[in-house]
Symmetry: C2
DNA sequence: TGCTTGGTGTAGCCATTGCTTTATTTCCCC
DNA sequence: GGGGAAATAAAGCAATGGCTACACCAAGCA
């Protein structure tokens, strides 16, 4: 299984390839705010675990396994952002919270949160009702 | 600020005191599945950070700060368990997931999840509707 | 009283995870 | 072919927390 940091790298790589068609060491490093040498090292680890195929100085390609996992990770991240937004968490807390929890939820939990979001999406008035509850609770203090 | 591990200890200690009136090193160690020496070390750290007052061989007492934080941590844990249960996560995933995310959510997020739970509590039929969404989504596959 | 014993405390060590620094290598393009 | 940007290798460091081994205290019993 992948460590949290491996997931961060894989997520970033998937996104870069998705957006620009390729993922360079320096882009990955910049995105994650680490030094290039850290990226090289992690890429080698990801290669060893068959998430990607890596050729020194030549670049990398995600394997099917890597693509699949990358997509899941990116989707998961997005889902969690949507979830926190939906329930009313402040913008400035969302990124850090997602960053913190995304690596620690089972896919079962992810699926359930997905369902919950769909629940609110289907009937937007439900969010209004949620906000009413919020106002009630705030009034209690 | 407290590290994840410090929070685990504080949570455990608060619970022990709440249930038995005191918290012995060996009980804490057993609860967290670590060796007693690790507990002593952490207790000293918690003392240094004013979460508790510690006297060698004599036991410990939570300070007001420690009590307040301990209660928050225990409540937070419970809240997250309830949340995952409510949205339909399987029993066997809940503990590990909560264990994983509890240290990584802002109090803003916690409050919002609290509101969400209250939303379902007020009108239990909402959970039925949530389960209907779930069935729909499952049928799609 | 004094000894035994179980619970505690101390010190030093180890593992994991990642990151940095520094020095070197490779590629690409002029 | 040479220069510079990018990438890599090697070594080391820092934070976190856990463990082992051994020393120590204190309560209860003989």
């Amino acid at each position: 299984m992948a460590t949290p940091s491996m997931e961060d790298y894989l997520e970033r790589i998937y996104k870069l390839i998705d957006e620009k068609g390729y993922a360079r060491v320096s882009d990955i490093a910049e995105g994650l705010e680490v030094h290039p040498s850290s990226v090289t090292k992690m890429i080698q680890k990801l290669d060893k675990d068959n998430y990607l195929i890596y050729e020194k100085y030549r670049g990398l390609m995600l394997t099917p396994k890597g693509k699949k996992m990358g997509k899941r990770l990116v989707d998961r991240h997005q889902l969690l952002e949507n979830f926190l937004t939906t329930i009313g968490v402040q913008e400035d807390n969302i990124y850090k919270d997602v960053e913190g929890i995304e690596h620690h939820l089972s896919w079962d939990s992810i699926t359930c949160i997905e369902t919950l979001l769909e629940y609110f999406r289907r009937e937007p008035s439900r969010m209004d009702e949620l906000m009413n509850v919020r106002k009630d609770l705030e009034a209690d203090n």
